[in-house]
Subunit: 209 residues, 2 copies
DNA sequence: TAGATTGTTAATCGATTAACAATC
DNA sequence: TAGATTGTTAATCGATTAACAATC
């Protein structure tokens, strides 16, 4: 199989959310041209991205929305539900735990952990209570959690990552501002990095105009 | 000025957080080799990134941490403080409003807005109360807010973006799962997209091993 | 001086885009 | 048939990496 560009995967997830919207609006088909317009890219990019995985469209007509949704689900691996644990019950950890879109997108938060005695026992949602991090490994094994969210301070993140990997977690979303050493896939979401890159655009835009 | 690759800007923000840590640990200098190791990239990448903006190192010695921090601050535009408003007081909006790292990194959240009467008036932090979105424009103008966070549902995001732009906001962080039509810089942070790309890595890793 | 490390150039690698034959 | 649109190839563009002279 040809190597798939990483940006292609990200865009598939973005096409997916457009297609969901179009489906809701009762549309049947969509052309690469229109889909491209919705996300501000070139239509050839859309076709190229999809072509890595197969031929999903019909010439002269476009792509059937239902079908494309189902194909992208399979490509991304979101046709099944994933069990998620969250480490760190601070602002970010709690927000993710309560985040409605998670469940809707087949990510099931099944556990939230913290070291802080004052947070342990706290009710986060109807069926989520903050657990002691001591029980992390046994919980992961018993409940077959697959994905973990690291929402701890940076100092704790590396050792948490190692525990997660050992316990059998298969992928990590890391909100902690640190690069992890580990052998499973990690997606980094450092919120402040987005603010900093944004501000750079703002500043340099002014210079150039 | 040569065109700066967008990934370079993101990496500068990441070098920055490493340098902060190194500074705290009392280090004086750092080589591109060591810095590269910390973030899992090549040392030539580090040097290249910095070289777009000047010559900040000393051959045989490396980069002075204090100096490099100060240079990156200037490059990114984070040497000054930025005033931020948040639109949408749901899980994400509230988490950002309470997020300690914001203040620490010179992003000052000065207002939180929502349409929901039940949320308006709610105390978010010691000095933040949810305001009615009706007062958005006047607030932005009076308080000279520069950056906005859109943490509304997708359906509301576009019209909010237009109001923000008109009111003089200069950059947007968009958590809503939608691509905005607007003429100011936008950084997109769709949390579920990160989960989806992660899951794709998890799934395809299994296939290839 | 010898070893370390930068800054920069040129080579390589990877991603995007244009163009167009195929076909609905 | 004529118009629309895909799927794919080749060309272009952009980003990363290796290599090395300069120099601390």
């Amino acid at each position: 199989m040809r190597k798939i560009p990483k940006p292609t995967i990200r865009r598939l997830a973005i096409y997916y959310r457009c297609l969901e919207r179009l489906e809701q609006q009762g549309e049947e088909n969509i052309s690469s041209k229109l889909l491209a317009q919705m996300v501000h890219i070139k239509d050839s990019q859309v076709r190229k991205d999809l072509s890595y995985f197969g031929s999903f469209g019909r010439r002269g007509i476009g792509y059937n929305i239902q079908k494309l949704l189902s194909e992208i689900r399979k490509i991304l691996g979101i046709h099944k539900s994933w069990r998620v644990v969250i480490i760190g019950a601070g602002n970010i950890g709690q927000a993710i735990a309560r985040f409605k879109h998670m469940e809707k997108h087949n990510f099931q938060v099944i556990g939230v952990f913290d070291t802080d005695k004052r947070k342990i026992g706290k009710q986060i949602t109807n069926n989520l209570v903050v657990s002691d991090i001591n029980s992390l490994e046994s919980f992961i094994v018993h409940n077959q959690a697959e994905i973990a969210v690291i929402a701890t301070p940076a100092e704790a993140a590396q050792s948490v990552a190692e525990r997660l990997e050992k316990a059998g977690i298969r992928g990590i979303i890391c909100f902690a501002p640190i690069t992890l050493d580990c052998n499973i896939p990690v997606e980094y979401v450092d919120i402040t990095v987005f603010f900093k890159t944004l501000v750079h655009s703002v500043v340099s835009q002014t210079h150039n105009v």
